[in-house]
Structures are given as structure tokens and as C-alpha cells.
């Protein structure tokens, strides 16, 4: 490709960061020095351009090392990967984690999202603002960091050479701790995720029990029995069990997993790809993080089974950028599994080939949407694609692709262990199995809870210790920002796909954010509106402009005295909502109005 770069040379550190991923350049044509072999020959073309999927890993390497992505660094990456700089710029500027202006090595991301707000995040942020200036220089306001069980939460990043680089989740964070970090202190390592639930858990059975860094510990706890079973059953047998289990996807869309697997297995176009969606960025959601941090081998084993069933030789696990520990544990588990013959060219001596590459998100909620996720792996902006074609037909790299959520996949281990029929006997007729719920906000014991499908919301809140003393319930945000509010009168809703649908709500990602009478609902709604405005990919008009107009109208509703004007704005909200729901490309736009709509229009929690 005829690439033009005019931004000046990269620094030695930047070159080292890029070469750390790609190796040294082989010729002058890739950004190296001239040798005589370059005088009469150059290779490029299709092979050079096919390196595009390496763009995000390279950008991460630059960001990790330098703390930001300079023009020289980006152009060097472009030369190496044969990517036009304007395209690469479009990619870098899409992802929230990449900085395009020089900034200090240290970055403290402080969550000011719903659950953390309830735990004092706003006061924390005001204090930081006073002491260190506005967000965006050394410290940064952030959307939910997936640590809502330990609100308020923060993430510390320190750029530098690999040995010195740091990334830590700090939760709960105090003002003192934040100040110490910003003054150069090093945070302590956080505690392991804990499951406080008593009684029968299935998906969480090994959490806090096995050593997440030991494959032996995992095998002692029954690990890799399901893989052996899968190899016995073969592709068709596995798919039969999963279908019989009536497992529905846990990523939000509740699509029958067996049908998806069957479609990919039968797709004639090759190769097939497997993607495990571990991007988990829905505010209030942290279940996949807990599974990956505490039971990473289960995720790897489940992916291997899915791959065998659907004929995939290459899998990707796309993990949210803000989950350093989960990433580390999963990468470690993959290495161990490979070393023990559970991954690689010949799995368990069965002649089956499968391997997994971990891909790191970079601060874009939209990349959890499956087709946006594909684009992100391909080294592009995380813009969702229009469907059809569906992933099972044309997904990652345009090939048939199976994409499943972490929790969905981990369920398969039990399905193979006990059989599809036994699995289907748990839960309700249409929503089988158990479900992980991320209970956060104003309950006594926030945390991850596993209950059979169909358990009532009231019972779940009880399980989390109920409300604090002398508090009354204002509302529960079910399903995260893309979900909707339910009120006291609806607490007996059974938590199943059909049960929530009946009251116009959704289980969504399993987020359950409890707001009591001390919560500032208006602030919560504004935060949700800001979230969608910030996270819209910007592709389609209803969502790009609609989320902005929604925020504007909401602000007016919350500040206006005059009823008639408020009513006009509520009507406007409803007009915008309908167009976003009907005409947006993807689920983000389609649900961006649902929480606000449910609060303002249906539940009259605020507004006229």
C-alpha cells in the first residue's frame, strides 16, 4: 500500500514497544534500515496487509510503554503493519484507553458509575478535583469498572517497560489511597474475589476453592472431565446435549446456544472461529470477571469443548481492557493447558487442534456487541455490523463464527457432566439452569449470587442481605444501563427470561443494582444518559444524535419548573426512544432509551 507518513521518526522506546510485538523489521520497506537485499526486491501486498489484526496489540504495547500514542509511534506501527495512518488514527481515537495527547505515566481511573455513586464516588471525585485538578490529566472519571461488589472502585495504570509497568484494580478505594497513588505511592495488591453465598452453587462451585493458578488444583476439583466426555460424544453428541439442556445465552440476547452451535458446526465455509465474549462492560456487571479471575481453567476448558463441537481450530477470548487480573489468569491458564496437551495441535491425543489467543479490549463498551467485537479483533474501529449476515454465517474475518458469553460457556461443563436433560430440569421450563446475578448498590452484602432461574427478585435481594436498616426501596435497575427499572411492586417478578419479559424488563447481563431512598435517582439517570452518549460508536444517526438529544431532554426535564414544557420534553424523549429502538443498527442504540424510558415514562420515577 502506498502509505505516506509525515509525522517524524518514532523514539527508540516507541520502536522497542512495537518491535516487542512484531520483532525487528526485515527490510527498509517495513520501516527498518536499508540492506543490499532491499535494492532489487520487496515483498508486500496481501501478506503485508493481512497483518491488520495486530494493530490493537501493537497499540496496547505503545500505550503500555509510553502512556500515550504519539504520531511518530503510530506511523511506525503503520509502516510495520501496512496500515494507512488516517485509518489507524480512526482506530486509536475510537478506543477510550488510548491517549492521543502526551500524559503522565500514571493514570488513575475512578469509577463514578451507578453503584459507585451510591458508595460515595461523587464525593471522592470532587475531592480529587480539588486536589489534583479536573479529570482527564492524572486522574480520570470512568464508567463502571466491573468491581461494583466492592464500590467505590478504581484502576491504576502506570506506563513503562514491561518489568515496571503496573495495572491494578483498587476496590474499595478511599480518598487517602487515591491521593497516595496520585502522589506516587504503589497500591497494594487487591484481595481475591470472594463468594459469600452459602448453599448450592454450581457455576461458582470452584470459585474461592481451587487455586486459579494451578491446573492440578483444577483437575483435582473435577476439571477436564467434561472435555474427556466431549471427546467421547463427538461434535453431534455435544450439540445434542447442549440443545437438550435448552441453554440460552447469558450475554444478553438469550439466544438458544444449541442452535448457534449447530449452525456453526454445519457451516460449509471454512475455517470456523470461536470467540469467547469476555468484554463485560455493562454497568453493574462483574460475573465474567469473577469466573475468569477465580476459575480460569473452566473458561478455557469450556471454550475447548465448544471448539470441538463446532469445528473451530482458532479461538479468541476478548477480555475487557480494565480486567488485568482476569487477563493474567486466563493467559496463565491457557499456557498451562497448552503445556498439558489440553490445547494445541493434538488435544488429549484425540487428533483435534485448537488454540486460544487472548485479545484485550481498549475501553469501548460497544465492543461487547459481537460484531463490533469482530471488527475490534480485526484491528478496526469497533463499529457493529448490520445483521444479517449473522456471525454463524459470516463473523470474524468473514467466516462462520461461534460467539458465546463466558457464563454461557461455563454452563456447558455441567451440561456435559450431568447431561442435558438433568440441566434442563433446573430453573423454569423455558429458562433452564442457574443464573449469575451481580447484586450491587444499596444492599447489605453486594456480590455475585447464583440462583436457579425463576427465583424472585425479592428472594435475590434477601440473599444479598436485603436493604440496610431503615431504608426503603426506591427502584432496582435490572440488566444494567441497557436494562430497565423495576419498583417495589414488581419485586416478585421471577428472574427468568420469560418472567422479566412479562413485565417489560430484561435479565440482560445479570446486573441488579439496588437503589434505596437515599439514592439520587436523577443523578443515576443522568449518568445513564451520559454513558450512552459516551459509548455510542457514532455510526448510525438515531443513536449518535439520539443519545445526545436524550441527554439534553433529560437535563431539561430535571431542571425545568414548568409542567407543560416538561411534558413536551417527555414526549420528545418518547419520540427519540422509538426511533432509537426501531432504527438503530445494534443493541446499544436499541436499548439506550429503555432505562431512562422506564424511569421517566412508565414508572414516573422522575419527570412530570
Amino acid at each position: 500500500m502506498d502509505i505516506r507518513t509525515t509525522g517524524g521518526p518514532p523514539t527508540a522506546d516507541e520502536i522497542a514497544a512495537v518491535d516487542g510485538i512484531l520483532g525487528s523489521p526485515e527490510s527498509i520497506w517495513e520501516g527498518g534500515g536499508r540492506s543490499t537485499q532491499d535494492d532489487h526486491l520487496a515483498r508486500g501486498g496481501h501478506a503485508a496487509r493481512s497483518q491488520r489484526p495486530l494493530l490493537l496489540p501493537v497499540l496496547h504495547a505503545i500505550q503500555d510503554r509510553m502512556g500515550w500514542v504519539s504520531r511518530g509511534a503510530l506511523e511506525y506501527a503503520c509502516r510495520r503493519l501496512s496500515i494507512p495512518p488516517a485509518e489507524a488514527y480512526g482506530v486509536v481515537s475510537f478506543y477510550g484507553r488510548f491517549a492521543l495527547d502526551e500524559r503522565p505515566e500514571l493514570a488513575l481511573h475512578v469509577c463514578d458509575d451507578i453503584a459507585c455513586k451510591g458508595a460515595g464516588a461523587d464525593d471522592l471525585c470532587s475531592a480529587l478535583e480539588k486536589a489534583f485538578g479536573p479529570s482527564g490529566k492524572t486522574w480520570h472519571r470512568s464508567a463502571c469498572l466491573g468491581l461494583c461488589d466492592r464500590s467505590p472502585a478504581a484502576l491504576v495504570e502506570r506506563a513503562g517497560v514491561p518489568e515496571e509497568r503496573e495495572e491494578h484494580q483498587v476496590a474499595p478505594i478511599t480518598l487517602e489511597a487515591a491521593q497516595a497513588i496520585l502522589r506516587g505511592g504503589r497500591p497494594e495488591d487487591q484481595p481475591r474475589p470472594q463468594v459469600v453465598q452459602r448453599g448450592t452453587v454450581r457455576l461458582l462451585r470452584r470459585v474461592g476453592v481451587v487455586d486459579p493458578e494451578s491446573i492440578d488444583s483444577y483437575r483435582k476439583a473435577g476439571g477436564y472431565a467434561a472435555l474427556r466426555r466431549a471427546l467421547e460424544l463427538g461434535s453431534e453428541g455435544v450439540i445434542r446435549e447442549v440443545t437438550e439442556a435448552k441453554l440460552l445465552g447469558r450475554g444478553g440476547a438469550a439466544f438458544p446456544t444449541g442452535r448457534k452451535w449447530d449452525a456453526v458446526a454445519k457451516a460449509t465455509v471454512r475455517p470456523h472461529y470461536l470467540v469467547c465474549n469476555a468484554d463485560e462492560s455493562e454497568p453493574g456487571t462483574f460475573k465474567d470477571r469473577v469466573l475468569m479471575e477465580a476459575d480460569p481453567f473452566a473458561v478455557v476448558e469450556a471454550m475447548t469443548i465448544a471448539a470441538i463441537a463446532t469445528g473451530c481450530e482458532q479461538g479468541y477470548l476478548y477480555v475487557r481492557g480494565e480486567y488485568p487480573l482476569a487477563r493474567e489468569r486466563i493467559e496463565h491458564a491457557i499456557g498451562e493447558a497448552r503445556a498439558h496437551g489440553f490445547l494445541g495441535a493434538d488435544i488429549e491425543g484425540a487428533g483435534t487442534r485448537f488454540d486460544i489467543e487472548v485479545r484485550r479490549g481498549a475501553g469501548a463498551y460497544i465492543c461487547g456487541e459481537e460484531t463490533a467485537l469482530f471488527n475490534s479483533i480485526e484491528g478496526k474501529r469497533g463499529e457493529p455490523r448490520n445483521k444479517p449476515p449473522f456471525p454463524v454465517q459470516a463473523g470474524l474475518f468473514g467466516k462462520p463464527t461461534l460467539v458465546n458469553n463466558v457464563e454461557t460457556l461455563v454452563n456447558v461443563l455441567d451440561i456435559l457432566g450431568e447431561g442435558g436433560a438433568a440441566f434442563a430440569s433446573i430453573g423454569t421450563a423455558d429458562s433452564t439452569g442457574t443464573r449469575l446475578f451481580c447484586v450491587s448498590g444499596q444492599v447489605r452484602v453486594p456480590g455475585l449470587y447464583e440462583v436457579p432461574m425463576g427465583t424472585t427478585l425479592r428472594a435475590l435481594i434477601e440473599l444479598a442481605g436485603g436493604l440496610r436498616e431503615d431504608r426503603t426501596l426506591r427502584a432496582v435497575l435490572l440488566g444494567g444501563a441497557a436494562g430497565s427499572f423495576v419498583t417495589e411492586s414488581q419485586l416478585d417478578v421471577p428472574l427468568s427470561f420469560e418472567g422479566t419479559r412479562a413485565i417489560g424488563a430484561t435479565l440482560g447481563s445479570g446486573a441488579v443494582i439496588v437503589l434505596d431512598d437515599t439514592a439520587d435517582l436523577e443523578q443515576v439517570l443522568l449518568r445513564i444518559a451520559r454513558f450512552f452518549r459516551d459509548e455510542s460508536c457514532g455510526q448510525c444517526v438515531p443513536c449518535r444524535v439520539g443519545t445526545v438529544r436524550q441527554e439534553e431532554a433529560l437535563k431539561r426535564i430535571l431542571s425545568q419548573r414548568e409542567t407543560s414544557l416538561r411534558e413536551a420534553d417527555v414526549a420528545l424523549l418518547s419520540d427519540i426512544a422509538q426511533a432509537m429502538r426501531d432504527a438503530s443498527i445494534c443493541g446499544l442504540g436499541q436499548t439506550a432509551a429503555s432505562a431512562i424510558g422506564s424511569a421517566v415514562i412508565q414508572l414516573k420515577l422522575v419527570g412530570p
Binding site: 500500500m1 502506498d2 502509505i3 527498509i28 520497506w29 536499508r34 537485499q37 532491499d38 535494492d39 532489487h40 526486491l41 520487496a42 515483498r43 508486500g44 501486498g45 496481501h46 501478506a47
Partner: protein
Amino acid sequence: MFGAGGGTSSYREAEETDLIILWGSNARETHPIFFHHLLRGVRNGARLIAVDPRRTGSGEWADLWLGLDVGSDISLANAMAREIIHEGLANQEFIGRATSGYEDYARCVEAYPLERAERETGVPGEAIKEVAHAYGRADRGMICWTLGITEHHNATDNVLALINLALLTGKVGRYGCGLNPLRGQNNVQGGGDMGAIPARLPGFQDLQDPAIHQKFSSAWGGAKFPDKKGYHLSEMFEAMEHGELKSAYIVGENPARSEADQTRAVRLLSGLDHLVVQDIFLTQTAELAHIVLPAAAGWAESEGTVTNSERRVQRVRRALQPPAGARDDIEIISELARRLGSDWGRPSAEAVWDECRSLSPMHAGMAYRRLDELGGIQWPCYDEDHPGTLFLHERLWQDPVEGPRAPFHAVEHDPPVDQLTEEFPIRLTTGRRLDSFNTGVQTGGYTSPLRTREALLISPADGASLGVLDGERVRASSRRGSVEVPVRFDASLRPGLAFMTLHFPDQVSTNILTIDATDPKSGTAEFKASAIRIDKLVTAGA
């Protein structure tokens, strides 16, 4: 090619082929819209091979760039042919049925093993082999070239060497295959179509064929006109030199600037008894003329047709009134005829075209009405029901082949005339840039943000060994003359290779350096290969 001279394929075939060899062409800059078609092919999966001394913008798109030494194309092509034959990739069935002269050819290329080609071209033998096999194995494959092939003293042999490759592998006469010279100027093809070649009448009809001569003569009321082959451009200058050619009527050319060895060209033109120049500008050549006939601009101020590189005849139309005094070419010529005693009236462009159609069978079906409807028509188009021809030479795939077989021509490597020596150690090659055109007369009219001042592009390594800085003015000299010019470092040039354009004669007269060694068959000069030396300027007082 063999018969009528024109590209064999359509642009759209480049979108649906498997392999494209771009040989001596920087189409990315010189034929940008053809390159769009080519890139669509690349996006559809076609491999692209670029053969060019410089790794140009086109080369940057290629899967493989072969950076051969200037003027070693035949060695490369012959070595590829030998590889193809040895690998059993020659299409023997096609060769046997549709070609002639294979034995001689095979014997000739046998003398080009990879080691020899590597020595003569500089390109690693392995890479030559890889390209040979890729071309041999591709189901569909095209070769496209431009001035990198033709601006050499052995231009015709260069072209033949490429034709040989296509014949050897049966890559002509089929969809997605072919041999395509990309024409450097608008209507070079059309000029050829209309008989602006020494021995041809319109439609590539043989001037020396009595029947054809008779056909034209009777159509023109028994007019007498020569039946001898005329001169091509460089023969004209030779004839001037020998005093055989004493007057010239030059229409829309600026040889005082565009000819190689410019000093000589100006001297010869100035020595003519009578020089008439018809042009839209008062060019350098026009300044030497005895009579200047100001003309309307063909593409925007008059009506007519042109032919493009895929043989498509297209209409041009008058959008502007020409400036006062400038007249349409047809009008000028008719007027001239009247003064010479033959009143043709004032024929319209369409009437002239219809006359041409009545005499040139390959244009016969191209009524203006049809040209409008179809967006132009690709010749041959024999009657008004004929849709035109997507690609040529399909007949070679008939069994048995009708008409003459396509001949192989054994051609030998012959290095550039202007040899590199200790005194002149650097190879200067010339070319064009995206935003400019030829001597820049027309493109000088707009301010292109891409335009930089003319400079001598050299490799940074040469700059270092000469002790000059990027941007420093130097003296560049060839055996013919010398110019002062700033150097610009270009990391894509290898040591020993330098590059200049011909676009800015007001800044630097590149053609003072170029050699006028000329291909005897086609009349093109060896603009692509001069030997030069570069000297640091001695600053006054230093």
C-alpha cells in the same frame, strides 16, 4: 500486438483476473483510474507483481516488487520464459495450435538461466523463478506496461519479450488475460487508430496495400496521395539533420521541449525552411515557427472522438468557446485545403467521423448515436448491431485457428546505450508524477498542493558518499550536457539510481541530460536510461 495495435483487454478484466504484472509502469500515478480497476482486482484476490527499477507507489501495492536494473527487461522476461518451460508450465497445446516460431524462441531463452538474469537484472534468481511460476500457474494473468518498456533504444524488442510470455502461457485471447500498453497521453491510441503511424491508414489499414490505397483514393474522388511509408518522429529529426526534411507542420506537439537531447532538437527545428505550428499554446516550438495557427482545445472546445487504452472510442464535446482567434482543428485544416485549392466545405466532426467509418471497417458500427448510448464502443465494431469487442485475439482459441498464427520473436538482452562508467557512474531514469503531465504546459495551470520543485532524486547513501545534503544544489552532467539542480533524498531509491521528471523544463531541462538513442522500429528515445555524474557545486570564495 499482432495486427492492429491496441491493448488486448478491457479495464474491467483487471478486476477479475488472478495475477497482474505491472511492468515498467507506475500506473498508480500515471494512470490512476486504470489503477482503480486494478486495485479492485487486488481486493478481489489478484496478486500484483511490479517490475520497475524504482519501488513506486504502484510497487508499494505489489505482493512482489522486482527492482531490475534499468534496461534489463528482456533478460528478465527471457529468464522467466526459460523457467516456465523448464517447469512444464508452457501451454504446449496453445503454442502448437495458435503460434509460430516457438522452437527458435525456446532456443533463445535457454541461454537465460536464472544466474545470468540475476547478474544482468540485479534481481535475485529465486524471485524471478517465483514470479515465473506464479504467472505460469495463474489461470488468468495480465501484463500491463507503460513507458518503462517503451522509452528504450530497444523498445520494440522489450514489448515483444512480454508478448512472448503471454503466448508461451496462453494468456491472451481469453477473458482476464492479455497484454496492455497503457497509453501515456489522451488519444495516443486514437492517433494510431486514425493512421498517424508512418505506414498506416485509418483502422490500421496498410498504406502500401494497393487495394486499400485504391479504396481510399476512390472515396476521395481519385485523389493522389503517397503510397510510401513515411517517417516516424525520430526519423524526421534525422531527415532534418541530413537536410532531407526542410519543412514541417506540427500539430499539438512540443518537440522543442519534449525531445531527448533538447539542444539538438531546437537546433534542427530552427534550421527548417518552413515551420508551421498549430497548437493551443504559443509553445517553445511555436516560437521557432514561421507560422502559428492558434487552435481550440480538443477536449473542451471542439467536437470529435478519442480512443482510450482499452480501445474505447469516446466522444469529446465543446463545453467552452475558444479564445478569440483560436479555431477548431477541422476548421483550420479545411481552410488550409481551400487555400490549397480543394474546397471541402465546413464538415462537422460527425461528418468527418462518418466518412472515417465508411472507410475503416473496425470503426464502421460506431455511429455518434451509438457512442452516446453505450458510453463509447471498443473496436473492432464492424456494424451498427455490433456491441464492440471486450478483448482481442479470441480467434487464437479456435480449433483450428482462423487467420495467421501469432508469432514468437526471439529477442536478446541489449543493455542501455548510455553506459555506466567511472566518469558517469549513476543511472538516471525519468518519469512522471501524479499531478503533472508531460512538459507541464497544461498542468502548470493549476496550483497542485502535491507539487514540489523539480529535484534530482537520489538515494541518501549516494548523497552521503557525494558529501551533499538533502536539498543542496548540485551539477548533474551526462555525456551530452549538464544542469544545475537541487538533490532530494529518496529512501526508496537504491544507491546508484537517480530519478527526475520532465515536468518542469523551466526549472530544470532534464532533457539536456537524456540521450536520443532511439528505437529504430518505433522511434521512441531512451528517456529511461542515461548515465550521469553528480558534482558538488564549488561555492564562490570557498
